[in-house]
């Protein structure tokens, strides 16, 4: 019904209803995120304080600085507005007049910000510091960079979780009687609602040197020495996270499978395919949107998890989120921490986007 920008009465009411939570999200999410971006350019201890108007009395200097900054910021918008009004001649004249001024204002603003300690230093550090990407040699063993290692862990966790989740989602969707389906879904989600921290402790206990697995296995006699490779390293992190995020992976796949018209499978069998090839040629491709959703729902949050690595990952199992946490709470360098967070987010975004684009052939249906 909305014809090109028209809003019905109901639409206006919808807008008013959505306003409170939206405004709240803007204040508590958009503004903080913007602040993080701004802070990421702030290098610790780099402020020098003097700039443009140093000879003027304080209020005038401030006014001058504000005017220059405003000019620089609003100019692109003015340009866009004029461009939309659509007269090429005016646009060109505007560019000729305004562009030099704008460049000047931009340079002045930048040098102002530099006196406040702003610059690209944090980002330079993120990319050049070997801890983050290249990797370091420590105590004779090679520690890969945090970012690649975190990506590796997240991707492995995601792959393991999703691959393990698919069969059970399939089971609930196609093999469980309709009246029991929501019961199974409910059971699957229960572990998610129990305390995250406690679950990590439990895994620590289960996988420990004298923990449940080892005492059970040695007690039965399968092994003589307790296993050491299952705790305080990356493997433990992977197991713990796979357990924690399992329901997140199952649900989207389940929803996608539910949407598949059952007669499609029957048609495929009728046309000569057996169960397995039917699955490969019909069911699997149609469930790709659910797989993509599951991958994203597991991959993105696991990058940001620092508790699991800290508790079960040992010193070799620390991940990028741990570094971010220490930068904020221990080292007290929010600028570097913010820069690292944003770079991590950008990396995650790129990886996720690449994943989605590579599968777009099966997502086109939507």
């Amino acid at each position: 019904m909305a014809a090109g920008g028209f809003i019905s009465d109901d639409g206006k009411r919808a807008f008013r209803a959505l306003l409170p939570p939206f405004v709240y999200a803007v204040f508590l999410l958009a503004i903080p995120l913007a602040t993080v971006v701004v802070v990421s350019f702030q290098m610790r201890g780099a402020a020098t304080g003097e700039w443009l108007g140093g000879a003027l009395p304080a209020p005038a200097a401030t006014a001058l600085r504000i005017m220059v900054l405003l000019y620089a910021v609003t100019l692109p918008f003015a340009f866009v507005l004029i461009a939309r009004a659509g007269q090429i001649g005016r646009v060109i004249r505007f560019l000729l007049l305004a562009l030099p001024l704008w460049v000047a204002a931009l340079w002045l603003s930048w040098s102002y910000l530099a006196t406040l300690g702003f610059g690209f230093g944090n980002y330079a550090s993120v990319f050049t510091d070997p801890i983050n990407i290249r990797g370091v040699l420590r105590d004779g063993s090679w520690l890969p960079g945090l970012l690649p290692r975190s990506l590796f862990v997240s991707i492995t966790v995601t792959a393991a979780t999703v691959i393990l989740a698919y069969p059970i989602a399939y089971f609930i969707s196609f093999r469980v009687a309709p009246e029991n389906k929501s019961l199974w879904i409910f059971l699957i989600t229960i572990p998610f609602w129990t305390s995250y921290l406690i679950r990590i402790f439990l895994w620590k206990v289960i996988l420990g040197y004298s923990g449940v697995v080892n005492t059970a296995l040695t007690g039965i006699g399968i092994i003589d020495e307790p296993l050491t490779f299952i705790l305080y390293n990356v493997n433990a992190v992977i197991i713990t996270l796979a357990h924690a995020y399992a329901p997140f992976a199952i649900l989207p796949i389940y929803v996608a499978l539910e949407k598949i018209d059952r007669s499609l499978k029957e048609a495929s069998r009728d046309l000569g395919e057996d169960r397995f090839t039917t699955f490969l040629r019909v069911t699997l491709p149609l469930s790709v949107p659910g797989i993509v959703a599951a991958v994203l729902i597991v991959f993105i949050p696991t990058i940001g998890d620092y508790v699991t690595p800290e508790l079960v990952g040992g010193s070799g199992g620390l991940l990028i989120a741990n570094r971010i946490q220490s930068l904020f709470l221990q080292v007290n360098d929010p600028g570097l921490g913010s820069a690292l967070s944003l770079v991590t987010m950008a990396t995650v975004g790129i990886v996720a986007l690449a994943f989605i684009l590579s599968l777009r052939r099966w997502l086109k249906r939507l």
Binding site: A2, L18, L28, P32, F201, I297
Partner: protein, 269 residues
């Protein structure tokens, strides 16, 4: 299917999911201090030990206050968002709703970082109980919205119009007709938000200042391996509480659907 391979797999998977949690009561009631087999006998001393810790009690109190406030606020926001979502479209509506739901897909550490920066740098405050409430509300609103979306979607639009046609104003139509019909969703949303807030660690840790929530308290015990059984006892209580609340939420959700005479679509999300 002749060999129920899938069924076997499903049960193994369920065991894998529930096993760690089932260990909790086992070791909470275990006499021994070491968390390992073999068990050394039944005892409730760890639960008794819980009783005697004032720092634990204040952590519990803080957590409860935060969780209650969060669930109320998040549910109110959720009602607004779900109602707006169910009404007609307007430009950028999808974007606005997407933004409200954004905290669901952001890694918690990013949220924690952003909120810490907001509180300390922009607002210049010291983190305290209320900042945690604000943070948790932001995180729980998408869940509340998601649950209430289901409740509002099942509502026939003409109910409110019929009420108005029969003489009610828009607000009293909402109060007398819509609200009772989405009430199960509201209660579900509050319970879910409560559980999420109670269990939330990462953001609470970043914003904890002089306030300790329960998960933060538990985290504080991590280095003391002799305290592990106490954590088991605490965990048992928390798990039982969460499961009870969850079951209640699910029963209410189904009852609400039954009252409105609607098909069950299977779950919150």
């Amino acid at each position: 299917m002749k060999i129920p391979a899938l069924r076997i797999y499903a049960f193994i998977y369920l065991v894998f999911l529930f096993a760690p949690i089932l260990l909790l009561p086992i070791f909470a009631f275990n006499e021994g201090r070491i968390i390992a087999f073999p068990l050394s006998g039944f005892s409730t001393r760890w639960f008794e030990a819980l009783w005697e810790r004032p720092s634990l009690h204040s952590a519990v109190q803080s957590s409860l206050i935060i969780a209650v406030l969060t669930s109320i606020l998040a549910t109110i926001f959720g009602i607004f968002a779900a109602r707006g979502g169910a009404l007609a479209n307007f430009p950028f509506k999808g974007g606005i709703i997407g933004f409200i739901m954004l905290p669901l897909v952001l890694p918690e550490i990013i949220l924690a970082v952003a909120l810490l920066v907001l509180v300390t740098k922009v607002l210049g405050l010291a983190p305290n109980l209320y900042t945690i409430v604000l943070a948790h509300t932001l995180m729980c609103t998408p869940y509340a919205t998601s649950i209430l979306n289901g409740a509002f979607a099942n509502l026939d639009r003409s109910f409110e119009e019929a009420a108005m046609d029969l003489g009610e104003s828009r607000w009293s139509a909402f109060r007398l007709v819509t609200l009772p019909l989405v009430m199960p969703g509201i209660v579900s949303a509050m319970l879910i938000s409560f559980i999420i807030s109670l269990d939330e660690f990462i953001v609470a840790f970043f914003l904890s200042g002089n306030v300790t929530t329960l998960p933060v308290y538990i985290y504080g015990l991590r280095r003391q391996s002799d305290q592990l059984p106490i954590i088991m006892a605490l965990g048992t209580i928390l798990v039982v509480l969460s499961i009870v609340l969850l079951v209640a939420a699910e029963i209410l959700r189904r009852r609400g659907l039954r009252r409105a005479g609607v098909e069950d679509s299977g779950g919150f999300l």
